[in-house]
Amino acid sequence: MPIIMRMPEVLANVTEAILTSWMVPEGTAVTEGQPIAEVETEKALVEVTSEMNGVLARYLAPVGSTAQIGAPIAIFITQDEKGVDLDAFLAQESITQPAAPATAHAPEIPATKSNNEPVETAIEVPRERTSERLFASPLARKLAKSHGLDPELIIGTGPDGRIVRGDVEKFVASSGDKTVTVQAPASNEAIPHSRMRKAIARRLTESKSTVPHFYLNAECNVDLLLELRRQLNQWSSTKVSINDLIVKASAAAFGDVPDANVIWTDKELLRFADSDISIAVTTEKGLVTPVLRGVNKMSIFEVNQTALDLATRARQGRLKQHEIEGGSFSVTNLGMFGVQSFSAIINPPQSAILAVGAAKPKAIVVDGQIKIANTLELTLSVDHRAIDGALAAQWLSAFCKRIEEPMWVLI
C-alpha cells in the first residue's frame, strides 16, 4: 500500500512552505533519515528527510510550488510495490496532483449551519486569488489608498479571502504607520522582497518597537586576549577567533551571573541552566543567527568548530530549523569592518545582545600613566522586562573581567 508523505511543520506556526528542490530523482530508493527535499520557510532553507525506508515513487509537489503544512508532497512505496497504479491510488485517496505553482491560497469556506435557513440568498463560492482580480471591501480599498498601500501586498482574511479593514489595519501596524511612497528615480533597481527579507523586517521591527531596550557600554583591554589567541592558534589547525573567545566569555559570565540568563514571556521569566548563544552570520540572503547550544560545556576549540560549521552552512542556506531557534543571548561583531562600536537590536525572544567593535590600539591610563593598549568597545542591548540595569551591569562587569584576564575564559 503506497504511503503519502506530507509537508511537515518545519517551523512553528507557519501554514505553508515552498518545495524548493527535490534532492533525489523519482523512483529512487531512500533510507530513513536521508535528506530528500529542501523546503523554504521565511526564516531558512530546511532539509526534509525521509521518514521511512522505501522508494520515493512520485513527487506530488512540483519544484517551486507552495504547499500547505500537511498537504501531500510525495508518494512512497516499498520495493515490491513498484508496479502499482499510482493514479488509481491517488483517485482513491481523492488527491489531485497539483499543476505548476499557482500563487493561490485556498480560502476557508464558511459553513452555514442553521436549522431555520430561511432563504438561500447568495451561495458563498470559494474563490482563488488570481492576479487578475483583487477582492477587497470598499472601505479596505479606501484605507489602503489613504496609506499609500498597494492592496496586492495585503493578505485578506474576510470571506473568500476578501481584504477587509482589519487586514489593512494590521498591515499598517506591522509595517510602520507612516508609509512613505518613494518615487524611485528611473535608474534605480527595484528588488522584490524575499521571504527572508520580509521576515527580518517583521521580526526586528517587532523587537525594536515592543521590547524596551536599554544599552550599556564598556571598553575592554584586550592585549591579553589577543596574546591568548595567538598562543591558541599555534596549537590549532583551525583559527580560533576573537569572536569565539567572546562567545565563551559570555557563557562564563552567565555562569557568574545566572540571573541574567533569562528571557521574558507573557506569563513568566524563563531561566536557563545552560548558555545557548547565537552568533550573527552575514549571508547573501541576509542576517542569520544560528545558535551554539551549551557553550558553557564546550571547550574553546569546540566553540570554534561549531561556530565555523554553523557559519559555513548558514552561508550555503543549509541550516536546520532547530539550529536557528532558541538561545537567550546573541553576539554580533562588526569589528572586522572597522566599526568602533554599535548598538544591536535584540533577537526575539532573547533578552540581550552584545555588539562588539574593532580592537584598536589606544592610549589608556594605568596607575596614573599613559600606556598604549588594544581595546575594543562593547555595547550590550538589554530587554528591561527581563533584566534590570544593575543586573545587566553585573553581567557586563563579569564579562569584561573574564575578557581582560582571559585565562578565565578558557576555564
Binding site: P118, V119, L139, G158, R162
Partner: protein, 729 residues
C-alpha cells in the same frame, strides 16, 4: 303550497318628469343662470376639444358635451358650502360649481362673462393644459380639477375613486352640525365598482348627507350599460341599500333641478343619502373630438336622436316659450361664451413659429420642472415647537403600563383634548376595546366619535380620507390585519397617498391608520404581512413603528399632529409588554425623524423596528458581537433618521437590517439600496439582511415559525457579519 308575501323596499324609487307648469313656475333667475352656465360650459368644452385636436392637450380630453344638463341642473341650487366631486369626465360639474360660487347665484345673460367668470374659464383651461396658473398648478389636469374654495373637492381618474372621499366630506358636514350636502358624480361605468357600492352601503348605514348622482350616458367607453349589468335602470340600486332614488331625464335641466331639490330636502333634514340617475348622452366618443359612431359601437341615428334633445336647445325653447328671452338673446349668450373661450385660448397659446398656421402653448406658462416633487407630503413644520420627550433619556417619574393600554390611554387623552379626533374601524366600539383592547373604554366616553364600521375597508378608509381632506375632523382608522390594505388599496395608495401631490401640493391629509402585525398568531397567509415595505413605496405616506409603550404615546401624538397620512404600526407580540411611561404626561411627542439607539456598539449597525428590536437585543447578547442596535421608529424614506444611521455606519462599517416578514414585501430592500448609495466607501462588507422566507407564513405552527425571522435568524446574521470582519478584528 307556500305562501308569498310581497316585500316592499324601504325607500321610494321614482321617475321625475317636468310638466309645462313646472317651467312656467320656475324661478326666472334660476333659468337664466342655467342658460348662461350651459352655454359657458358648452363653449368651453368645444374649445378644449379644439385644442385637443391640435395636439395641445397632453393626455386624454374627456368632454362632457351633451351631458351639461345633468351637471347644471343639479348644481345650480347648491351653495358654496355644499361640495361636489366627480370623475374623469368632470369639466361640466367643476365649471358649474365654480361659476356658481363666483357668481353667487346671479348670472346676467346680457353681460354674461364677468371678470371673475373669464378668470374661471382661463384657469380651468390652463389646468387642463397642465399650466402653472391652473387651479392645481398644472399638476392636476383634466382629471384632478380641484377648488376647495368653491366646494369642488376634486375630480378623480379612478372610476368610482372619489365616491368614498365624498362620503368622508359628507360625514364631516353632518358632524359639524351643518345642513350642507355633498354630491358625488359618476357614470354608468362606475356604478358597478366596489368603491361605489360599498359607499352606498356605508352612507346609508350612517345616514350621510350625500347624493350619488349617476350620469347614465349608456356607454362605458364602448361597452353598453345593458352588457355591464342585469339592472340597467341604475337608480334601482337604491332599493338594495334603503336609499331613496330618483330617475330623471338628464337632457331636461329643470327636471334635474327639481329632482335635486327633492333630494336636498331629504338630505338636509338628516334623512341620509340619495341617488339620482340622470339619463344623458355624450355626443362625442369617450375622449377626443370624434363621435362614438366613428368607432362603431353606436349608430349615427342614435346620436342624431339625442342631439335633438340637446339641453341647450331644450332650455332655450322653454325660455323663449315663456317669454323670458328671444332667439337673438340666446344667440348672444352663445356668442359671449364662445368669445370668452377664444380669449382664454389666446391667453394660453400663441402661433407656432416653426409650423405655419399652427398654435402652441406659450412656453413661459409651463410650470417650473423643479416643481415636480413639491408637495409630495408636507414639510413636518407643524411639529415645530411641540413638546418633545425622549423616554429612554427622560428623568421624569414613570408609571408601568401595558403596551395595549398605552394605545387606549393616548387615544383617550387626545380625544379628550381635541374634539376633532374620530376613531373608526371594525369592532373597535365593542368587545371592550376591539379585538385586542386597543380602544378600551373609549366608546363609552366618546360614543359619537368611536365608529364601528361595516366590513368595507375600501369605503371606510376612503371615508377617512375624505374626512381628512375636509379638515374639520381627524380620522384614526384601524385595519384589523395589515393584509386588509389590499382590499382598500385604491383608497390607500391611489387616493390618500396621492391626494396632496396630485392636486397641486397644498392639501393637508391628516389621517392616521393603525394596524397590527400579527406574525406568530397563526392567522395564516392572508393575515400576517408586515405592511411597512409596501407603504414605504408610497411617498405620500409616513410610517411610525413604536417598540415600547412610552414610544407609542410619543409617536401617536406626533402622527396626530402631522398633516400627512401616517401609518402607525403595531405588533401583537408587543401588546402585552410592560413599559415605563411618563407619569401623568400623555402629551409629549417623539422628536421627528429621530431613531433610538437601544445598544451602543462598534462592530455592526443593526437597523430594526417594532418587535424585532427586542429580538435583536436578545440575539446580540447571545452572539457576543458588539452590535449597535438602532430602533428606527420613523420608517418612511422621508422621515428616516439618516443622521444617526450615518454616524453609526461610519463607526462600524457593517450593516445588518433586521425584520420579521417575508422577503417579497419586505422593508429592507430599498433601505439596503439607499445605504449602499450613501455609504459605499464606509462599508467593509455587503449590507446583510435578516428577514422571513419567500412564502407568506401559514397557520401550521412550525411552518409559521419557519417562514418568519426570529432570534435564531438574527444570531445567524450576526455570525455572518462576524465572518465578514475577517481574521484580524
Amino acid at each position: 303550497m307556500t305562501s308569498h308575501l310581497d316585500l316592499t323596499p324601504a325607500q321610494p324609487w321614482v321617475e321625475i318628469t317636468t310638466q309645462e307648469s313646472d317651467w312656467a313656475s320656475a324661478n326666472p333667475q334660476t333659468l337664466e343662470n342655467m342658460l348662461g352656465q350651459l352655454h359657458l360650459i358648452r363653449a368651453f368644452e368645444e374649445a378644449v376639444l379644439q385644442l385637443a385636436s391640435e395636439g395641445l392637450v397632453h393626455g386624454p380630453a374627456h368632454s362632457s358635451v351633451g351631458q351639461e344638463g345633468g351637471a347644471v341642473g343639479s348644481i345650480i341650487g347648491l351653495s358654496t358650502s355644499d361640495a361636489i366631486n366627480g370623475s374623469h369626465r368632470g369639466h361640466h360639474q367643476f365649471l358649474a360649481k365654480v361659476i356658481n360660487h363666483v357668481s353667487q347665484g346671479k348670472l346676467d345673460v346680457t353681460n354674461l362673462v364677468t371678470a371673475d367668470i373669464q378668470n374661471v374659464l382661463q384657469r380651468t383651461m390652463a389646468e387642463i393644459l397642465g399650466l402653472a396658473q391652473g387651479y392645481c398648478h398644472g399638476r392636476g389636469g383634466s382629471m384632478h380639477l380641484q377648488s376647495f374654495e368653491a366646494g369642488a373637492l376634486g375630480t378623480n381618474a379612478i372610476v368610482g375613486g372619489g365616491v368614498p372621499l365624498a362620503a368622508g366630506n359628507a360625514w364631516a358636514q353632518k358632524k359639524a352640525g351643518t345642513r350642507d350636502i355633498t354630491v358625488t358624480y359618476f357614470g354608468d361605468g362606475a356604478v358597478n365598482i366596489g368603491s361605489v357600492l360599498e359607499t352606498m352601503n356605508l352612507a346609508s348605514a350612517w345616514k350621510l348627507p350625500m347624493c350619488f348622482f349617476i350620469e347614465n350616458n349608456m356607454y362605458a367607453v364602448s361597452t353598453h350599460v345593458s352588457e355591464a349589468t342585469g339592472e340597467p335602470r341604475l337608480s334601482a340600486r337604491g332599493l338594495g341599500f334603503a336609499i331613496p332614488s330618483w330617475q330623471v331625464d338628464g337632457m331636461d335641466p329643470l327636471a334635474v333641478h327639481l329632482a335635486m331639490k327633492e333630494a336636498e330636502e331629504y338630505m338636509r333634514n338628516g334623512g341620509g343619502p340619495t341617488i339620482i340617475e340622470a339619463n344623458v348622452y355624450r355626443f362625442f366618443h369617450q375622449n377626443g373630438s370624434f363621435p362614438g359612431s366613428a368607432f362603431g359601437y353606436r349608430s349615427k341615428e342614435e346620436e342624431a336622436s339625442w342631439r335633438e334633445r340637446d339641453p341647450l336647445l331644450r332650455i332655450a325653447k322653454e325660455m323663449i316659450e315663456i317669454g323670458l328671452i328671444d332667439q337673438a338673446g340666446v344667440d348672444s349668450v352663445r356668442d359671449q361664451a364662445v368669445r370668452a373661450c377664444e380669449i382664454a385660448m389666446a391667453e394660453l397659446t400663441q402661433d407656432n413659429p416653426t409650423a405655419a398656421g399652427k398654435r402652441m402653448i406659450r412656453p413661459e406658462l409651463w410650470p417650473d420642472t423643479s416643481f415636480v416633487n413639491v408637495g409630495v407630503r408636507g414639510d413636518a413644520s407643524e411639529l415645530d415647537g411641540l413638546e418633545n420627550l425622549e423616554p429612554s433619556e427622560s428623568k421624569a417619574t414613570t408609571v408601568e403600563m401595558k403596551f395595549v393600554d398605552a394605545i387606549a390611554a393616548v387615544l383617550d387623552r387626545r380625544m379628550e383634548t381635541d374634539s376633532r379626533i374620530v376613531v373608526l374601524g371594525e369592532d373597535i366600539h365593542r368587545l371592550n376595546g376591539g379585538t385586542n383592547g386597543a380602544t378600551k373604554g373609549l366608546s363609552k366616553k366618546y360614543p359619537d366619535r368611536i365608529l364601528g364600521t361595516p366590513i368595507s375597508e375600501n369605503a371606510f378608509v376612503g371615508l377617512g380620507g375624505g374626512m381628512a381632506l375636509d379638515g374639520r375632523f381627524i380620522p384614526v382608522v384601524e385595519f384589523m390585519y395589515p393584509d386588509f390594505m389590499w382590499v382598500a388599496a385604491d383608497q390607500v395608495f391611489n387616493q390618500i397617498g396621492k391626494a396632496r401631490h396630485m392636486f397641486g401640493g397644498q392639501n393637508a391629509v391628516p389621517l392616521v391608520l393603525r394596524t397590527k402585525v400579527a406574525m406568530g398568531s397563526g392567522y395564516g397567509s392572508q393575515h400576517l404581512m408586515d405592511p411597512a415595505g409596501i407603504f414605504a413605496t408610497s411617498p405620500g405616506w409616513r410610517i411610525v413603528a413604536p417598540s415600547t409603550p412610552a414610544d407609542y404615546v410619543g409617536l401617536m401624538n406626533a402622527a396626530l399632529a402631522l398633516q400627512d397620512p401616517v401609518l402607525v404600526l403595531e405588533h401583537v407580540d408587543l401588546y402585552q409588554d410592560l413599559g415605563q411611561v411618563p407619569e401623568g404626561n400623555l402629551d409629549y411627542h417623539i422628536e421627528f425623524s429621530k431613531a433610538a439607539i437601544r445598544r451602543k456598539g462598534s462592530d455592526v449597525t443593526v437597523l430594526t423596528y417594532l418587535s424585532m428590536v427586542k429580538h435583536s437585543l436578545t440575539a446580540v447578547e447571545q452572539s457576543g458581537v458588539d452590535a449597535e442596535v438602532i430602533d428606527l421608529r420613523w420608517l418612511d424614506r422621508a422621515s428616516l433618521d439618516w443622521v444617526t444611521i450615518e454616524e453609526s455606519i461610519k463607526k462600524t462599517n457593517a450593516v445588518l437590517i433586521v425584520e420579521q416578514g417575508a422577503i417579497g414585501t419586505s422593508y429592507g430592500a430599498w433601505l439596503t439600496d439607499e445605504i449602499q448609495r450613501r455609504f459605499f466607501d464606509y462599508l467593509d462588507q455587503p449590507v446583510t439582511r435578516v428577514h422571513g422566507g419567500e412564502a407568506s407564513p401559514s397557520i401550521s405552527k412550525v411552518l409559521e415559525r419557519a417562514a418568519i425571522a426570529g432570534v435564531e435568524e438574527i444570531v445567524e446574521g450576526l455570525a455572518k457579519i462576524q465572518r465578514g470582519m475577517g481574521g484580524n478584528r
